[in-house]
Every structure is written in structure tokens, then in C-alpha cells.
């Protein structure tokens, strides 16, 4: 019987063919522990009675949620994680380099075919390079740190096929928001979203990351793209039969197939306060906005900043509106410095912060107050995520966000 991408990845790792519903114990290639969860994970690890980390070189510690620290106890998380790393010989530590999900592929850890777990739900991002990656709690992570393995249920796959050329004002963010709108926030629970078709073939890895990243907002366990030459170039490896073999078989079995014509897609926003409350931008156009946030592991990459800069070049943002730009990583920040993108954004009046989770994790980076409206390029618009529960969060693409910053009201790019 034919296999989906995710069945192949898991099958390769366990050494035999698997089918949806199988419960298998998989060896882990990478685990990522972020700064919020590190102290909790370390505590569980000690409680479990482990005396060593199964393979310190497979563990990556990333400090991003609390950077820069906004609360008195934040830096304790850095210190406890540092002490754990020193004790168990963990050397892969990124203390100020950017958002964990950006770094796990950008810094060369996760490669096609790998299995990764992270203590953050957006770990699904690494599906962009053809890896199985999903978020887990800190107790399970503690178990992996000790054993190097975890049980999983092989997920069914939903095939999301997108064909054709996207209109100029539609980005991969609009695509994934549209998919989530159609699937609903629980429509892919326990399943994998497998993205394919000519539209995604033509996308950059960065654009694919946006889609993998948000798969979890439909409840998915993974959001995966079969690795192609672009993927391998990004990962710094040659494209071989090994990667080619990870593509789905023609007779693979899917629980569901969604088909989209790219030409028919329009810019959309996720309206407050559910990620699946999707409306065309045109339907909410004119809504007054207090702040725009460009950043996060969803849309804080160079191409996102460039897209905004293209719109903002030579203009200034609307009076009394704030636009906060938080590049996803140090590498992105420096690239945007080098090509003039940050200068355009600074000239336009943006507040450019240091790379990190920023406003998306709701502990700083532009918190809002009652009745304020924010258009944000990140992944969640839950009640209270960016301040009080009376803050209204619209999720949008970098293009929509930049146009909105220019006019002060929600505007289609």
C-alpha cells in the first residue's frame, strides 16, 4: 500500500512500514527545550531519576520567550538551563540568537527525514524541511532527555494540494489561514497536514515554514512538505534519492484531500479571538487599528520584512499607530540590516526590537490595553494573548500588516 510523507519518515526511523493508528516508539533526532519550559523540564528530569542525558548533542536549548527579560524571575530560567547544560554536557545553546523554531532549521539542526520534539506547540514548523516535528509537554521531554525515545500514534494525513500562481497580494500566510478556516481549529486534530502542489513547489522554504508553523492551529500533529532541492539547499545538504524517497506515493491513503486553486485565494485575516475565524480582508477593511506587529516564528523572516519594507518604502506609518518589528533571528536581523530593509522600516517609523518571541508570547514586545486593536503576523489571536481579554487581535500576512500600518485601518495590500 502507498505511503504518505509522514508514514515514510516514521517507517524509516522504526525500520518497518507503519500505518495510521499504529502506536510506535520512535528514536529522537532532535529535542528542543525553550526557556519558559526549561526549569519545569529539568525538575521532571531529576524527579524521574535519570543520571545522564541520553545524547547531549541531540539536545538544543534556546532562550527566546524571555528575551529581553521583562520580569524579575525571568533570568532564573536562563541560569537553571545553563546549570543543567553544564552538568550534562549540552553544548547546543542559543541564548540570544532568536526564536527557537527559526533556529532549529536555520542553525542546521533539523534535516529532512528527522524526528524532532520540542517543548512548544509550534515545533511543527520543522515540517517545512520534510521532518516529523511536534510539540510536547515538559514531562514527556524529560522522558526523552533520559531515554532518547517517545511513543507516538502514527497520524493519518490530510492532503492539502494547492495549484497555480498566488495573486500578488496573497502570501503563504493567507493560504494557511484559509486552510485553517476550512478545516476549523480542531479539524486536523491528531492528523498530519501534508502540503503539496505547484504553488508550494514554487514557494521559498521561508514561506513553507509559515504554513508548517500554523498547522497546529488546525489541531495538527505535523505540517509537512516533502523535501525538494530548495529544502536541501536551505539545509546545506545535497538532494539525493534519500530525500526523493520521502515524497508520498501516488497511491498513498489520505483521510481527506483539500484542493485549492491559488488564483482564487484572497488576502484573509483571522478575526478575534479564534484562529479559524477567517474572513477576507475586504470584509473587515476599514477597522481602526492601534498597533501592527510584524514578527514571530510564523512571519518574522527576511522575506516577510522585505514584503513590508516594499510597501512602506518612502512612507511613514499612520499617526499614533505603532508598528513593532521583531525579526525572527539574529541572522534575519543582520540580513535585513545588510540589504537596507531595516533602514526602510526605521525610516517609516517602526519600532525594531531584538530577535525573539516578542509580542507573540504576550510577556512584552508591545502589550496592549482594553479595546485596542492589533493586526499581527503571528500564529495566535487567543483571548488575552497580547494583554487584556478586551484586546482584539487580527492575524494577517506581512503585506496586509504593512498596508494596515500605512493607513491606520485594516487594508488589503
Amino acid at each position: 500500500m502507498g505511503q504518505t510523507v509522514i508514514e515514510k519518515i516514521i517507517g524509516n526511523k522504526v525500520g518497518h512500514a507503519v500505518k495510521p493508528g499504529d502506536i510506535v516508539t520512535v528514536p529522537v533526532d532532535w529535542c528542543m527545550v525553550d526557556d519558559i519550559m526549561a526549569p519545569f523540564c529539568i525538575k521532571k528530569f531529576e524527579e524521574m531519576g535519570f543520571t545522564k542525558v541520553w545524547d547531549p548533542d541531540r539536545v538544543v536549548l534556546i532562550y527566546d520567550h524571555f528575551l529581553p527579560a521583562t520580569q524579575i524571575d525571568d533570568s532564573r530560567h536562563f541560569r537553571e538551563a545553563d546549570a543543567f547544560a553544564d552538568k550534562y554536557g549540552i553544548k547546543n545553546i542559543h541564548r540570544t540568537d532568536g526564536i527557537c523554531h527559526q533556529l532549529m532549521t536555520e542553525a542546521g539542526y533539523v534535516k529532512p527525514g528527522d524526528i524532532s520534539f520540542g517543548t512548544d506547540s509550534h515545533t511543527v514548523t520543522y515540517g517545512c524541511v520534510g521532518a516529523f516535528a511536534t510539540g510536547i509537554g515538559y514531562t514527556e521531554m524529560a522522558g526523552i532527555l533520559g531515554t532518547g525515545e517517545l511513543w507516538i500514534k502514527v497520524p493519518e494525513s490530510i492532503k492539502v494540494e494547492i495549484e497555480g500562481a498566488l495573486p500578488a497580494n496573497v502570501t503563504s500566510k493567507d493560504v494557511i489561514l484559509s486552510v485553517i478556516g476550512d478545516l476549523t481549529a480542531s479539524g486536523a486534530t491528531y492528523q498530519t497536514l501534508e502540503f503539496c502542489g505547484s504553488t508550494v513547489d514554487n514557494m521559498s522554504v521561508a514561506s513553507r515554514m509559515t504554513m508548517s508553523n500554523m498547522a497546529v492551529e488546525a489541531g495538527a500533529k505535523c505540517g509537512v512538505f516533502a523535501p525538494d532541492e530548495k529544502t536541501c539547499e536551505y539545509c546545506g545538504i545535497p538532494y539525493t534519492e534519500k530525500e526523493e524517497a520521502l515524497h508520498a506515493d501516488a497511491d498513498a491513503v489520505y483521510s481527506r484531500v483539500l484542493h485549492y486553486n491559488a488564483e482564487e485565494l484572497v488576502p484573509v485575516v483571522a478575526c478575534p479571538s479564534l484562529v479559524d475565524n477567517i474572513k477576507p480582508v475586504s470584509e473587515v477593511a476599514g477597522t481602526k487599528v492601534d498597533q501592527v506587529f510584524l514578527g514571530s516564528c510564523t512571519n518574522g523572516r527576511l522575506e516577510d520584512l522585505q514584503a513590508a519594507a516594499k510597501i512602506l518604502k518612502g512612507h511613514t506609518i499612520a499617526p499614533f499607530l505603532k508598528m513593532i518589528v521583531t525579526p525572527a533571528s539574529r541572522k534575519v536581523y543582520r540580513a535585513a540590516l545588510a540589504d537596507g530593509t531595516l533602514e526602510i522600516l526605521a525610516d517609516a517609523g517602526c519600532v525594531i526590537t531584538t530577535p525573539g518571541c516578542g509580542l507573540c508570547c504576550g510577556r512584552g514586545g508591545g502589550i496592549l490595553s482594553d479595546n485596542e486593536v492589533v493586526v499581527a503576523t503571528n500564529n495566535r489571536n487567543f483571548l488575552g494573548r497580547m494583554g487584556t481579554s478586551k484586546v482584539k487581535i487580527y492575524l494577517a500576512s506581512p503585506k496586509t500588516a504593512a498596508m494596515t500600518a500605512l493607513t491606520g485601518v485594516i487594508t488589503e495590500a
Binding site: S75, R330, G387
Partner: protein, 415 residues
Amino acid sequence: MGMTMAEKIIACAAGVNATKAGDIETVTLDRLMSNDGTTHLTIDMYNKLKNPHIADIDKLVWIVDHNIPADSPKTAASQKKMRDFAKEHNITFYEGEGVCHQVMMEKHVRPGELIFGADSHTLAYGALGAFGTGVGCTDYLYAMVTGTSWLLVPETLRFNLHGQLPEGVYARDLILTIIGRIGANGANYKAMEFAGEGLHGLTMADRISICNLCVEAGAKTALMEVDDVAMTYLEEHGRTPKACFTSDEDAVFAAVYDIDLSEIKPIVAKPHFVDNVVPAEECLGTHIDEAFLGSCNNGRIEDLRVGAAVIKGKKVAPKVRFLVVPASRTVYKQAMKEGLLDIFMEAGAIVMNPNCSVCWGACQGVIGEGETLISTGTRNFKGRAGHKDSFVYLASAATVTASAIAGEITTADRV
């Protein structure tokens, strides 16, 4: 009888020919600066007035700089209150443009002006020969409503500067040395006036840094004579003086100090007081967790150049968080153009948006229990930068950057 600079500015603002230290004068303010630290409280009081009224909208400058970007619903709410009020009343308003005193220096302050700022470091404006002083929000509100206030004319401590600072020694070292000498209350209620040929060799950045920190000696204001350097700065920023005052030959000073700049050495102010100064050498080897290059005191382009020169080609120590925070958007953009931001980013520093940052102790880079920060900020009071049991050392941009590289306090010539 001759008058001091402070007396002349107050006399001018009071519309009288002469005044002297100890007199109380009613003055008309030239400018009223307020920031997000306290403006929401001023607005609350304003709204409770029977006949709320603003004497002269054009004199008000409101600046959101303390918590940018906002770090909690509470700060977001106070900023919103400020923003909405500014919008409604058409008040000159900046948000995210930089630290208030730097923005004021770049865009508003004129020699000879008398300026109230609802922030203690308003003394910075003395670098342009303006009388800036910090007030609480009640005084601020009174001035905002009436356009006037009363002032006790201060005595003046005169500092005659001679010679030149040695290489690797900065204005920060000079003012810390002075504060160490006269003590944290050595200038209480007084004006600190700087003059002498040594002043002419100091850049505007140096001057702002010196005046800014005078409040840490308790001074009411700090003043410097307006010379060519100040006039050039003013012209470059498209402004003209209100008046350029100098103290008369026969002015009466409470004390006169002669400072030989060539004798100044790199200085560190140890926890928990600004006057707890020692030569940097005495702190060598002190472990640090965080370093901060920024603030209204040392976040200007000159400071970033110093830091970048020290760190270029080197790396921040692995466990040190090195925050680099330009004082304003203008500084940020200039640093970007000169490639300084990339030097810092390449070295592993955390380059932030212009704002008060950890100098204000909230929002960015808050330090935890038992941690040590070395900072170019203004204060090292207990708990200022975070946990009550944490430690702040104050030093120059060079010393702070060198320490960030070493992971312990050191001087630039040692890294």
C-alpha cells in the same frame, strides 16, 4: 552684583532684572516635558480639576520612552491614556522615538530656556545652556495649567574644567569622579555649572552625559556655557538660542572646583550608590551577568562608536546578555549607517529599539536574584534593574563593552 547662569535664566523667565540665590521667583516655563513614567497620573489629576485648562499647548512635549514596547497591560493602559489625551489636545507627542531627554535635545531644547521635565534627568538640557529640572506630577500639572511655577533660586557650584581627558577616559568617568568627590547629596538644591577651557574639548555627547548625571549629586540643575560646539549642534538641528547666558566675573558661587581632566581615570560606581566610586581597576574580575550600553546618559552615537570599536571582531562572553540600546531613532539610524549595529549583532549583543530599557528597570533586560549588571545607565540603586538582591555597577561605554566581552568587570585596554 554679578549673577550666575542659573540666576540669569531664572531672572529672564521671571521677567525681573536681577535675582539671587535663595530668592523665590515665579517663572514662566518655556517647555514642559513629560514621559510615560508618570503622565497618566498627571492626566488623572488634570481630569479632577474644576476648570481643566492648558496654558500653552505648544510648550508641552510628551514622550513615551520608558516601556517601549509595552511589557504589561498596566503600562499599555497608561500609555493609551497618554496617547489619547495627546491626540485630543494636540500635544506634541513621540512614541518609540527614543529616550525623552535625547529626543528633547535633538528636537526642542534651546539655550536660555527654563524647562520642567517630569523626570529627574531633565538636567541633561544644561548641555545646551538651558535650565532643566525634574519635577513631580503635581508641580508639572500646575505648570501645565498656569504656564508658571515658583522656583527657589539655587546656589551654584562652579566646576572649572582644565586640560583634556586622557585617551580611554570618558565624560562618564569625569562626572562619576565629581559625584564621588562631592557626594550623592553634595549639590542638593544647587546648580552645577561647568565652564573653563576644558569644556571646549568635550563633545555634545560628553556634555549631555555630564549634565544628565548631576542629579545623582542632588543638583537641581546643571548648566554649561554655550560655545561653538553647542552652537554647531544647535544649528545642525535647525534651532536658534533663546538667550546665551554666562556667569558674570563677579558672580557668587557656593564653591568653585578646579578639575584637571588629564587626571581623570576610568571609574566604576559600585552598588548601591552613584557616589560609591572607585577606580575601575579595583573591580577587575567581578563576575557579570548582563551589560547595558544605552540610556539618556550614554546611548548616543559617540558612545556606540566607542563600544563598537572595543567589540569589533570580538564576541560577547557566552553567558552574558549585552544590551545595546541607542538613545533615539536618529542615533539608531546613524549607527545603522555606520555599520555599528551590525558590529554589535555580529558580536552577539542584543540590539534593542531606542528606549529607557534596563536603566528604568522594567520592560527589557530585567535582572534576577543575585545577578550583576554593569551599565552605562544613570543609577545603581538597590533593585533598580530588577530583583532587590541584585547588583548594578555604573561605568563608561568602553568599560561596559569590555566587561561584556570578558564576562567580568574589566577595562577596554585589557580585552
